[in-house]
Amino acid sequence: MYDSGKIIPGLIIFVLFITIPIWYNRGAAGSVPKPELPKDAKTCVLPAAEIRAEHMKLLNVWRDEVLRDGKRATFELEGKQYQKSLMLTCMKCHTSKKQFCDKCHTYASVQPYCWDCHLAPVE
């Protein structure tokens, strides 16, 4: 191989660099995030596993239905009527963005831009 004196060390540095996420924590995955669940409500608007996977899509669907199509009809859950709204429904139960939303988002390194406009409940 030509230039092996430059290529082999370069390759080693590259492999080390690209596998930083694996060896930086010495194999440990870090603790699983524990978002603080609301005390007074039993279920969310969808079952837990579904809402965890789909809440991004659900919020987008709500947004388009409410804002663009004008379909502001409330939906019923356990006898109560709820609006399709992040601030007026989700955050009324999950009253702390830091203890709930941020716990998983920080772990997954996700930065949703919802909070640029939508007001988080005062902590």
């Binding site: 899509k57 987008n60 669907v61 947004r63 388009d64 239905e65 804002l67 663009r68 199509d69 004008g70 502001r72 601030m87 007026l88 831009y113 640029d116 406009c117 939508h118 007001l119 409940p121 005062v122």
Partner: protein, 270 residues
């Protein structure tokens, strides 16, 4: 570079592009099937502007200029109600200012009606102007992402999630109704309303006829704030028996820049 290495790089580059592009296309096709219903709908309002379907609502407003002239405090009340309930920021410098409804002079509201010898009352007092929620809105025609759209009930809405901040709508609006967030507005909102979002920097905003209130049967905030004076009347222009239609039948009204064909929904009683 010898030709073998060159061919290898060409093939590698094209396959990477194909791989990235292909997965993106497949993802969008799969997701698009589920999301298609959510993204259509309100955006097509622009093409149907002016030709309301039978039975469709068309919201409008009548502004009684004389009432604002007789009681100058009314204007401030209406503006404050709107700006407070919608978290409209209050910037100290005029260059950053954002306003959804505001008081201005007759010659600024109706620049096509210049009058050298205006009556004293009109000269001294102001009247409110806001987005006209046109039936044929040039801003909706201009928006490249349908972030501003005309919904079926006549309200020209803003989708702050989709706005890319190109400000083409601001150039297109013949009335100067739109404002842009030149910086982050959060710190400049006096008296935050916790039940309504604010906006972020880089998006355009304007009066939305209180769509979130109107669509659940309430009146716009500005109308409700001064409801006793009846200086602002809001209603369904397509309902011949509504209060607003009665007023339009009885009183002589004018509109702003009517020759531009934008078909505004806001009328002014002179």
């Amino acid at each position: 570079m010898d030709t073998n290495r060159r061919n290898f790089l060409k093939v590698a580059g094209i396959s990477t592009l194909a791989g990235l592009g292909g997965t993106a296309v497949v993802d969008r096709l799969v997701a698009g099937a589920g999301m298609a219903h959510a993204t259509t709908g309100a955006g097509q309002g622009a093409e149907q502007a002016g030709a309301a379907k039978a039975g469709a609502t068309r919201y409008g407003m009548v502004i009684d200029i004389k009432k604002f002239q007789m009681d100058p405090g009314l204007g401030e009340k209406a503006v404050k109600a709107c700006h407070q309930i919608h978290n409209v920021p209050n910037f100290p410098e005029k260059r950053d200012e954002i306003k959804w409804i505001w008081m201005t002079n007759f010659e600024n509201a109706f620049p096509e009606k210049p009058n050298l010898y205006q009556d004293e009352v009109t000269e001294k007092h102001q009247l409110p102007i806001l987005c006209n929620h046109c039936d044929n809105p040039p801003c909706v025609r201009a928006c490249p992402t349908k972030a501003t759209f005309r919904s079926d009930d006549g309200i020209v809405g803003m989708d702050y999630h989709r706005c890319i901040g190109c400000r083409f709508c601001m150039a297109a609006c013949p009335y100067g109704s739109r404002s842009f967030n030149w910086r982050d507005p959060r710190l400049f909102i006096t008296n935050i309303n916790k039940d309504y979002p604010a906006r972020t920097r880089g998006v355009v905003e304007k009066c939305n006829f209180c769509v979130e209130r109107v669509q659940i049967g309430k009146l716009p905030a500005c109308v409700e704030a001064i409801i006793d004076s009846k200086a602002l009347v809001f209603g369904n222009l397509n309902d011949p028996n509504s209060e607003i239609r009665k007023i339009l039948k009885e009183k002589h009204t004018i509109q702003r820049n009517p020759s531009l064909g934008t078909l505004p929904s806001v009328f002014y009683i002179v």
